[in-house]
Amino acid sequence: MESDLIFIILNSLTFVVLFFLCAATFLLYQKLTKKQESLESQANKILDQARQDALNIIQQANEKSVNLLGESENLKNSLNGKLNQSISKAVEDLTGFLEKSALIKSDEIKKSLFSQFLISQEQYSLQVKNELDQAKVEIEKYKATQLENIDQKIDQLVSKTVQDLFIKSLKLEDQEEIVLKALEKAKTDQFFLPLSKQKNG
């Protein structure tokens, strides 16, 4: 009985202890939660401030860049104007110089070109004449050669035709008669004179 009582007392004590422990834990949790919320709030504030600062910096940078661009544009316009003036002046100076030089040299150049043109024209005319003469000679030569060839071919053709004609048209009796007449002609020409001399000798 006594042991049961002790057990009950111990259990009750244990329960009480646990209760306090739970309560303490709950209180601690609440405290920590509040602290976390506080810290988060502070962090948010810092972040908001930083964001705001960044925006300010960006805005200032933009303003400065716009100012710089404006200044650079002005500078560019100013430099362009000066450059154009310088170029115009240089061009005017150079044109004047060239005009003066051209006036001085133009007569000499004209004379030189004209004389060169005359020389070239004479040389060209001479060359053309020579080539023309040479071409004429070659054409005449070619013409003569071709005419000679044609004459020879015609002659050969006529001879061959006449030969064929005679060979076909002459009978054996005609051939024999021509041979005997040729002997008579040779006798008239005294071709056989050595026979007479031989006989007499």
């Binding site: 051939q175 024999e176 021509i178 040779a186 056989f192 026979l195």
Partner: protein, 116 residues
Amino acid sequence: MDNSQLETILTLEQSKKFISNLEKSHLNGKITKESVEKTKKTLLSLPVVQLNLAFEPSQELIEKISHWFLKNYSQKVLLQINSDPSLIAGLTLSLNGFYKDYSLKKVLENYSSKNV
């Protein structure tokens, strides 16, 4: 010289005729070595006339030509006859190193050269 040797330069008919003439030319009709030598000597003493004709002459024409020489020069001649169709007609003659062209080919050549 036997018949076969003669046939290398004469036709069979010409060979027979040659031998026949040779036999006739001897009184007793016998051909002896002496008679052949005599005939050879006679032939070698004859003048040789070379004739180029445009055609192969018949035996009849050869005899006519031979007779022509006998008639006109009272002399026998040896005829050396060749044929050359390019002459067309007529003949060329050679005697003792002299040459004469009586061919139609020559006439045409002369005519052609005069007209060029």
